[in-house]
Amino acid sequence: MSELAVDLTHGDAHHDDHADHGPQGWLKYLWSTDHKVIAMQYMFTGMFMALIGGFMAYVFRMQLAFPGIEVPGYFGSVSPGEYNALVTNHGTIMIFWVAMPVLLAAFGNYLIPLMVGADDMVFPKINRLSFQVFFVSTIVILASLVVEGGGFAGAWTAYPPLSADSTYNLTPLGSTLWLIGVGLEFVAFLLGGINFITTLMNSRAPGMRAFDVPIVVWMIVVASILFMLSVGPLLAGAIMLLFDQTLGTGFFNPATGGDPILWQHLFWFFGHPEVYVVLLPAMGVVIEIITTFARKKLFAYRTVIFTIVATGVLSFFVWAHHQFVAGIDPRMANIFTVTTLLISVPIAELCFIYIATLYRGSITLSTPMLWGLAFVAEFLIGGVTGIFLGAAGADIYFHDTYFVLAHFHYTFFPIAIIGTFAAFTYWFPKMFGKMMSERLGKWHFWFTIIPFNVIFIPLFVLGMGGQHRRIYNYQHFPELAGDGFQSMRIIATVALLVMLAAQFIFFYNCFRSWRAGAKASKNPWKANSLEWTTESPPPHGNWRPDRMPVVYRGPYEYSVPGREKDYWPQNEPK
């Protein structure tokens, strides 16, 4: 194996032509160190996992709408234990195997070298190792679903003692594999993050100063740093939890002298920064798209950088807002209310900047732009509902209700699904060399966005009505069993079915464009950043070694007065 790897790195030497060297076929694919190939590997794994996570949502939403039915496509009806396992793994997969690999790893890998004008990541082999570890973690998490006893069912937050002791959770193997899978995934992203950070720091094209870097690269790199600095304690915690599970130590289990709240601190110290880890890349993607399709310079570039740094720093001081009623010292809740509300300030500023960027623009509503704009409109709902939860007094009521659930789906869905589609449709021509169908793209857009709102608006109402999370059948609760509430559940589920069906449009569009789409030029959107100055798709090495780009200005010089063209690529001297 290592023989092969060594061979390949030689094969990876810079080409003068665009032909592929080295092993052919799937072997080449598996062992490639090219950042673009690795990006695709992450992306397709993420896409596959999105379908699994979406399927799980389908199964448990069917159970909620029509309790007890045999869910078509699932093995019979959903037992309470299966319900919990489905919810747990839906959350885990959507965050760690969809949002992270697609937004951070796939687009990070694809875009960073191209956008900073480098031919690859600085450590291609570590990059490949990162994907391989990730791939193993994917297999582990999938295996955890089918082992004896079933998948882990203690929620994605894995609070002990439930998660620590199999006499409580009844899934001895499932919970251990789940934990190992998540741990491996973290390691994969640590390896990837080192590449992202150092590539941006050191491998920028000649002439590219810090403030000439496209925002999306900044965002991905800041997100990687946030991840790196927050995940450590949880990794340590995961080791402790693993020992609790397998050896019977007593770190978190009060029965043996441990402290279950400690895990919650470790988890949320990571968990909250984590939500910004996935938020920032999506925010960055949207900036690239909005500036391109509004033909506008980004409003206040430097302020954007300051807001993300402020968000990053603040995000380390808000974690206990998930634990207001968890039995922590009540005085702490007040402190964390302050920090939580404070974090609304930089994020609000960022949202205002998006709006300001549209001001006096020249806006084209292409498919990527629709996704990008939808991100802003929908994320605002998710953001402002966070304020209800951040006020500790109100969170006494809202904690662990569907209001929280709707809050975070209004943040996560825009990020992981809308943001991903935005990025995917925007860079599709670059990645695959073909244009996508605008008509199909718009159908897909509307049939995803409208159902999305129809799913989750009712869930806000249910949450305000006192419906708690992770309950497989509300018929046990007279206050929640009424027809009014049940019909809202049914509406949400039906909307989900529509949305899932709409994804076929997307896959059909991808497939058709890939096979028969119009050929994409180098720069179909007339954008400025460096990835648009090379072929579509870019050859190995991205540019010819003797023609590596040199940078003269920032990436948002659109509609500069006095110039004939309304864009000004970063690498054009004049």
């Binding site: 609070y159 409003f299 039995g327 006096r360 006192g466 046990h476």
Partner: protein, 247 residues
């Protein structure tokens, strides 16, 4: 000062869920305040957003303006709202503090009753003080998934768990507190509405989390007294005392 906070007592979402305790309206008021403040900014942002999208659509012959965001008269449009958001945050924080301190940081003294709530996989055990009003005496009434309290009385509850985390949640009272094995956590409530209400377990606790449902009966004085009388364990009833209710 108190008058100021009275502003934030409301029952605005009573149509969805009843207001059943002394502090429920306080919480609802805070939620209403956040709704108004955040709602205003939300609508303002969405309004500007969609206005710009509609107004500045690409038209032949018109170019976008070149605006860097450094122009003072334009930057204002970001900075001022940004400071306003900060100011409104302070308002929310102040009211939230008030609510939080009332409910979670103060324990009103001299309760009319103390009950113990014990979570375990997957049922709630309630320990009522019985006729003598004291916990841990012979006449305590233990029930499973069934809590009985008297309306308009101040109660303390002692929350415990025997195995994993659970969370004691009575939506109509707007009460929620996690139960932690190995600890007992004390809180309070004062029901203000008679009737029969749901108790949910709000923290995932394993296979049966979804069926960890209990009911609370809030009764007026007479009904509550007769419930106590009817359920006092025989062992505790003094042999000389007459039949329940006669006294």
């Amino acid at each position: 000062m108190n008058g100021f906070f009275e502003l934030f007592h409301s029952e605005w979402f009573a149509p969805l869920i009843e207001v059943g305790s002394s502090y429920a309206a306080e919480i609802d008021g805070l939620i209403a305040l956040v709704l108004v403040v955040v709602g205003f900014w939300f609508l303002a942002a969405q309004y500007m957003f969609f206005r710009f999208i509609l107004k500045y659509r690409a038209r032949p012959g018109r170019r976008a303006d070149y605006i860097s965001g450094k122009e003072k008269h334009l930057k204002r449009w970001i900075t001022i709202p940004h400071l306003c958001v900060l100011a409104f945050d302070v308002l929310i924080v102040v009211v939230s503090f008030r609510v939080w301190i009332d409910i979670k940081m103060t324990l009103p003294e001299n309760p009319d009753g103390v009950i113990r709530v014990i979570g375990q996989q997957w049922a709630w055990t309630f320990q009522h003080p019985g006729d003598d009003g004291e916990l841990d005496t012979l006449d305590d009434i233990f029930t499973v998934d069934e809590l009985h309290v008297q309306n308009d009385q101040l109660y303390h509850f002692i929350l415990e768990s025997t195995d994993v985390l659970h969370s004691f949640s009575v939506p109509v009272w707007r009460i929620k507190q996690d139960a932690i094995p190995g600890r007992s956590i004390t809180g309070w409530f004062r029901p203000t509405k008679t009737g029969e209400f749901d108790v949910q377990c709000a923290e995932i606790c394993g296979f049966g989390h979804g069926v960890m449902a209990a009911r609370v009966w809030v009764e007026d004085a007479d009904a509550h007294a007769s419930w106590i009388a009817a359920n006092t364990p025989l062992a505790a009833a003094p042999s000389s005392s007459p039949a329940p209710g006669v006294q």
